[in-house]
Amino acid sequence: MSSIWIVRDYIRCTGCQRCEVVCSLRHENRIWPEASRVRVFMPFPGVEVPHLCAQCDDYPCVKACPVSALSVNTQTGAVIVDDGECTSCGLCITACPGTVPFLHPSTNKAVICDLCGGDPECVKVCGDAGYDALRLVKENVGAQKKVHAISPFVLAKDLAVNLFGEKGEEVV
């Protein structure tokens, strides 16, 4: 099935949030950080965590949806939200091990990364800038993708220590 995936290398994220700029321009025709499918959490300056769908092999969000508003694109493996069907119940959010989906600030429908149909904009700008915090791989990553469906706050605590040593234990 899924043959593409976005690898995330958190420590390389600069916090520029250009991923959010281009994601929202593509999906919303506006610069709209809180409607972006990828959101960079930064609970302390310098500790930046790009947070986006990991396309778990077993798709707990899709299974949790009571109205079948979520489906999997067989070409990309991305979770596709049918806005017409979504009832904003939030069960996909609680089913996600990383609490990745969220409700759109305007439509109140679930928002999940659709991999831009196979050519993600976020990856392009991150790569062009030479950061590669987000990178597209064309290999079958399989079940291990799920370890990336994880709370950005858990990762932030780890990153803080990686960056700041003992001091990192205090800041997040």
Partner: protein, 615 residues
């Protein structure tokens, strides 16, 4: 609604505990844009008549926290803080990089005007089309790092409670003051993100004087609509491609310059500007990047320049200190100007200054000034409580705390270098004014004029409406007005691509913003207004253009060392260039805007006031 704007501003009165939404007429926005320009306009309209009696640290002053139409849309998101400056008694458009202005615009606001004084410490919480005043007594006295940590967690929890079902709330963004601002140190900054400061102007003291610890914003809306959305996408691509191609700035930031401006251009302050030359290669990129940079590419919203780098000290006495790079200005002011040439010591002082909430240029200028007085035997161990030799990072740490706590001589030094020098001259019966490196009460950025090899020449500071501010220096009265544009449209000068900038402004606003229109119109209008407010001054100091439109005495002393030894700023040339500048912007021989200029710039309402300034 003009494009690029969220459309609404907040009028906050902390005495009455009221928050009100207001709009401003499109003509005003067109004439002043936002940030620095709009601040001057609103301050003039609301306080102009009684300007010289307004105490910058009194409740009547207005603290402005403004974005501009290009903010967050143009690469390099910045916030512009202004008000009546407790240093110059005029206005300064003081900017800092942050996500805060993006959050503010996404919440539906272009900025805030804050007046009055809260009865106890408060912070403002701004969410989608809503603002509230909240208790801040639990963060009062906290250093920058703790303030961010506590308010991030508290606000995220509060917003999560209000709307629990939408998924994970991201942290908000904020501007805040440290203990320096709370204790009204005149060189306190308004800070954001631990290490970014709106430093020039002393607005941290203004914010502290209002008992306002922080302004926290979380917006879930989009950024404002632009005039030409398709063109914007193309221009953003072009812009970022250009910024990414500027490799050395991305790799080193300005942090390479700690050696360069010392050894090559000989314009870096050393030991309170007694010298401007050194050849210490420790003070540059590799020694910092190899040992201390934990994030070699760091940026703010919509910036691909990433000239910021995060430093952290992981061993030794300063373990756990975090700062950015430091950039050139703080390499100089928290380093060479204190006789410090060790990267760890430099990072430590820089981190301390940020955490305390001083302006990293202006606060340490006072530290260097004090050390020169100690060197000359004018300040002693009795005044300080400790010895203060050059290069002693521990001693400068003690001095920084002394100032922030306003203890002993620190209480005098907290008044900023110029005012402190006046008081120390009286206290000690010695004229210490020759050792003050300032223009109009604003300590000068880390770029000297004596070698004439830096970008700061002859009248760079002397004729500037923002005094010693190195980000707004003067040259010909035309090209220099671009910086007024960046501070008023509000974006980062390091993200400006000059041949794309004006097209970008048109694409966002739809207005006829061209370089020429700006440099003969809005730009001149804003500096004429700032000039008027600066010369009105008061209540404690009124500047005399004939004597105060000048460099500090030290800039006329010959450089003692280095490749330009013996060279000094040419006073006769300064006087000639000043006249050229005045003429270029339509001011008379004393630098007062003429009647005709005011009329041409649609500033006729200033005439009765300006008339009194003319002789």
């Amino acid at each position: 609604m003009p494009r690029g704007y969220a459309g609404r501003f907040l009028d906050v009165d902390l005495t009455r505990e009221t928050v009100q939404e207001i709009t401003l007429p499109e003509t005003i926005l067109y004439q002043y844009l936002g940030g620095r320009g709009l601040a001057a306009k609103v301050l003039w309209d609301r306080l102009g008549k009684q300007w010289s009696t307004v105490d910058p640290l009194g409740p009547e002053n207005i603290l402005t926290i403004l974005t501009g139409p290009l903010t967050a849309i143009h690469p390099g998101s910045r916030i512009c803080v202004s008000g009546k400056s407790p240093l110059s008694n005029g206005t300064v458009g003081s900017t800092a990089s942050s996500e805060f202005p993006m959050e503010l615009k996404c919440a539906g606001y272009d900025g805030l005007f804050v007046t009055g004084k809260a009865s106890s410490p408060v912070y403002l919480l701004i969410t989608d089309h809503h603002a509230e005043i909240r208790d801040a007594s639990h963060v009062w006295g906290k250093l920058g790092e703790d303030t961010i940590k506590i308010l991030n967690a508290e606000v995220r929890a509060e917003l999560g409670k209000r709307k629990p079902n939408i998924g994970l709330w991201r942290e908000p963004a904020m501007v805040y003051v440290g203990p320096a601002g709370e204790n009204r140190m005149r060189n306190a900054a308004v800070l954001t993100k631990v290490v970014h400061a709106a430093g020039y102007g002393g607005y941290g003291a203004v914010m502290g004087s209002k008992n306002l610890k922080a302004v926290v914003a979380k917006g879930r809306g989009p950024l404002p609509e632009v005039a030409a959305p398709k063109a914007l996408e193309i221009m953003l691509q072009q812009y970022h491609t250009r910024l990414i191609s500027m490799d050395s700035m991305r790799r080193w930031g300005t942090g390479y310059a700690g050696w360069y401006f010392g050894a090559v251009t000989s314009s870096e302050p050393v030991r309170n500007w007694q010298e401007e030359w050194h050849d210490e290669r420790s003070m540059a990129g590799p020694r910092y990047s190899s040992r201390f940079w934990v994030k070699p590419y760091w940026a703010d919203f919509n910036c691909s320049r990433s000239c910021m780098k995060i430093s952290c000290i992981k061993t030794g006495p300063w373990k756990g200190d975090i700062t950015d790079m430091p950039d050139y200005e703080l390499e100089a002011y928290c380093g060479t100007n204190l006789g410090i040439f060790d990267p760890a010591d430099n990072i430590h002082i820089s981190a301390l200054i940020d955490n305390l909430g001083m302006s990293g240029i202006n606060g340490p200028n006072t530290l260097g000034f004090a050390a020169e007085l100690y060197q000359r035997g004018i300040l002693t161990k009795e005044d300080l409580g400790f010895e203060l030799p050059w290069g002693d990072a521990e001693a400068f740490t003690k001095l920084a705390w002394l100032i922030v706590k306003r203890e002993k001589i620190g209480d005098v030094l907290a008044e900023g270098t110029y005012r402190a020098a006046q008081r120390i001259s009286a206290l000690k019966g010695v004229d210490v004014m020759p050792y003050v490196v300032h223009v109009k009460g604003i300590e000068i950025g880390a770029h000297g004029t004596r070698s004439n090899e830096d970008f700061t020449k002859d009248i760079a500071y002397a004729a500037s409406v923002q005094g010693g501010d190195h980000t707004s220096v003067v040259n010909d009265g035309y090209n220099d007005l671009s910086s007024v544009f960046m501070d008023s449209a509000v974006f980062c000068m390091f993200c400006a691509v000059h041949d794309l900038m004006w097209d970008f402004a048109q694409v966002v606003t739809g207005w006829d913003l061209t370089r020429h229109n700006w440099c003969t119109g809005q730009g001149q209008r804003i500096v004429a207004l700032q000039r008027t407010l600066l010369l009105l001054g008061g209540p404690d100091i009124v500047w005399d253009p004939e004597t105060d439109d000048d460099n500090p005495p030290r800039f006329y002393e010959p450089l003692p060392t280095g490749p330009y030894a013996g060279k000094t700023t040419d006073k006769a040339f300064v006087d000639q260039r000043k006249q050229d500048y005045y003429a270029a912007v339509g001011w008379d021989a004393r630098g007062i805007p003429t009647t005709e200029t005011l009329k041409r710039l649609d500033l006729a309402d200033l005439e009765p006031t300006v008339k009194r300034l003319r002789k």
